[in-house]
Amino acid sequence: MVSSNTSIVVDDVSKIFTMHYHRSLKQIMVAKVRGLPLSETFQALTDINFEVEQGESVGLMGLNGSGKSTLLTLINGVLKPDSGTVKTRGRVAGLIATGAGFHPQLSGRDNLFLNAAILGMSEAETHRKFDEIVDFADIGRFLDTPVSHYSSGMSARLGFSIAIHVDADIFLADEVLAVGDKPFKVKCMAKMQEIRQQGTTIFYVSHAAASVQHMCDRILVLEGGHLNYDSKLVDGGSVEGGIKFLHYDDEEPDAPGDKNGISALADSALGAEI
């Protein structure tokens, strides 16, 4: 049942993308004449059901194209589900897929204010946190150059810095730091641990099993748009169980040469517990 500290409710959610093959009139005519379909649909998510309590830290894993980013965009409110409902309580912030929602022609400063406003911060609040955000992003004198001149790491830094300083109730992180350098990644993970400790709901998408294991107390595994593992519902489920479920640590039957190197790497990454 929905209790008073439920943070996210995802109820029977499906998302179907329409892929449009033919756009110009000529292409449409040709397709009509040849009897080709004008568009094709793709079901990215199928009947997803789960609830997240406030303060829970949820890891979302799955192979490429399994629908992780799509699910996060639905929770973020950018997309609407085709069926089912998504509900959230409180302010939602975060970054979805690599790169922030910046306007390329605007300076970092303008984008900072714009993003903060979109995320629900008032003008006074933004001014108060401005220095903190800029310090954390550490983009130096590029603050007043257009974002199109930023390296991808720099815009990811700024985007993350804004999102994490919003004081959101729900924080979504989708491989945001894939382009960041190691020191910044460490800084971000530490910051995320900090807001996790403060009781923010965290949704963390990553392929890095060890990192998910340390950040999250629950794991969801998506496979081809189906939610196939929820450590809260499965008997004896755990984050480690979810990672096992993904078969990241499967034997590699046809690559004996590689095996030792990679498995050793993976083992160390998964931690000694496994």
Partner: protein, 356 residues
């Protein structure tokens, strides 16, 4: 060189296919293509397994965070009305649009005055002097200026509004926000442009002698309301349609160009009124254009005001009859149209992120 390339590629492919080991691999990948894809993905994922550093959880026990408020759908509550209730975001976007005009051009914002200024000059010379419209139309410059102001406003809103969502696609795709903000911001930018023009017009009128009456003042407000509501509606509708069919942003320029000839500014109303007996329907259609109505209402305030001060109220200085009633009806229609456009926008906006 280029002639030899395909043959050598062919040869290479043949060589590869005839290689016993390679053949085996190809066969195998055909068999279990799906399994292999998954395997490859897993392999990649495993390589990434330690791509993120591990940071231990903090020692302190987790605090409980009490969140006020209900469970709601995370999609932003859209609607033009909602925008004006929380105007901070709108203000930021407007300031940004204006800053964009300044940037990377020497004359900056002056361009938005040079353009209508030049147009005014050309129309004045060609129609006023060359075709001698000014002889039959007293205070022709004011007559023309009124038309230029509102058609300029409408082109700004129509052109800018239509492109607005497409131009801000990086934001629309990633951030949850009321998307009406983008087209509506262009309406505000339009005000920003025409306010100094109206001021200038007013000063010119005062200098050449100006009188007004209640009808004139009502006409001024009615005209402004009509063009604002109509501009908003059109910007909303076409910004959304333009996401689906990018053709629209190419058409807007032509339409606004045509609009200059569809309002009585370089010719007097008497020219159109002359068709009343022979083509009554066409004349009514001409007057059904909200931009046309708002221009006439603006002329009722400024141009008629100057004419009244001159004491010259010949038949040429006349405007269509019952303009206030007509304006009221047009405003009501535009409001209905705005509601319809908002409805259409809300229907279309769900798919913006995936279509951009």
């Amino acid at each position: 060189m280029s002639g030899g390339a395909p043959t050598s590629r062919e040869e290479r492919r043949e060589a590869r296919a005839s290689h016993p080991m390679a053949k085996e691999t190809i066969e195998e990948s055909r068999d279990g293509r799906k399994r292999n894809a998954a395997k490859r993905a897993r392999k990649m994922a495993r390589k990434k397994a330690d791509s993120m550093p591990v940071v231990e959880a903090l020692e302190a026990p987790q605090q409980t965070r009490v969140v006020e408020g209900e469970l709601v759908t995370p999609a932003p509550a859209g609607g033009v009305v909602g925008l004006f209730k929380a105007p901070y975001l709108l203000r930021l976007l407007v300031r940004r649009e204006i800053a964009k005009m300044y940037s990377a051009s020497v004359l900056g914002l002056l361009w938005s005055y040079i353009q209508p200024g030049l147009r005014f000059g050309v129309y004045y010379l060609v129609f006023g002097v060359l075709l001698d419209v000014q002889r039959s139309l007293p205070n022709f410059a004011i007559h023309l200026f009124c038309g230029i102001v509102f058609t300029h406003f409408f082109s700004e809103v129509f052109n800018g509004g239509t492109r607005s969502i497409w131009e801000n696609r990086t934001l629309v795709k990633k951030m949850a926000m009321p998307r009406e903000t983008f087209p509506i911001a262009h309406v505000i930018v339009g005000y920003y442009h025409i306010f100094p023009q109206i001021l200038l017009l007013f000063i010119c009128c005062l200098l050449s002698g100006f009188r007004t009456d209640l009808t004139g003042v009502v006409a001024l407000f009615l005209g402004t309301a009509i063009i604002s509501v109509f501009g908003m509606a059109v910007a909303l509708l076409f910004s959304a349609v333009n996401v689906y069919y990018r053709d629209f942003q190419n058409v807007t320029g032509t339409i606004t160009q045509m609009l200059h000839f569809m309002v009585p500014m370089m010719y007097g109303w008497d020219r159109i009124a002359g068709f009343q007996p022979t083509h009554p329907v066409l004349v009514q259609l001409y007057l059904a254009n909200p931009v046309c109505d708002s221009v006439i209402l603006l002329q009722r305030f400024f141009w008629t005001g100057v004419n009244m001060a001159d004491g010259d109220l010949g038949h040429n200085a006349e405007l269509p009859p019952h303009m206030l009633e007509r304006g009221g009806i047009t405003l009501a229609c535009c409001l209905v149209f705005l509601v319809l456009c908002q409805w259409a926008f809300s229907r279309l906006e769900h798919k913006f992120p995936e279509r951009l």
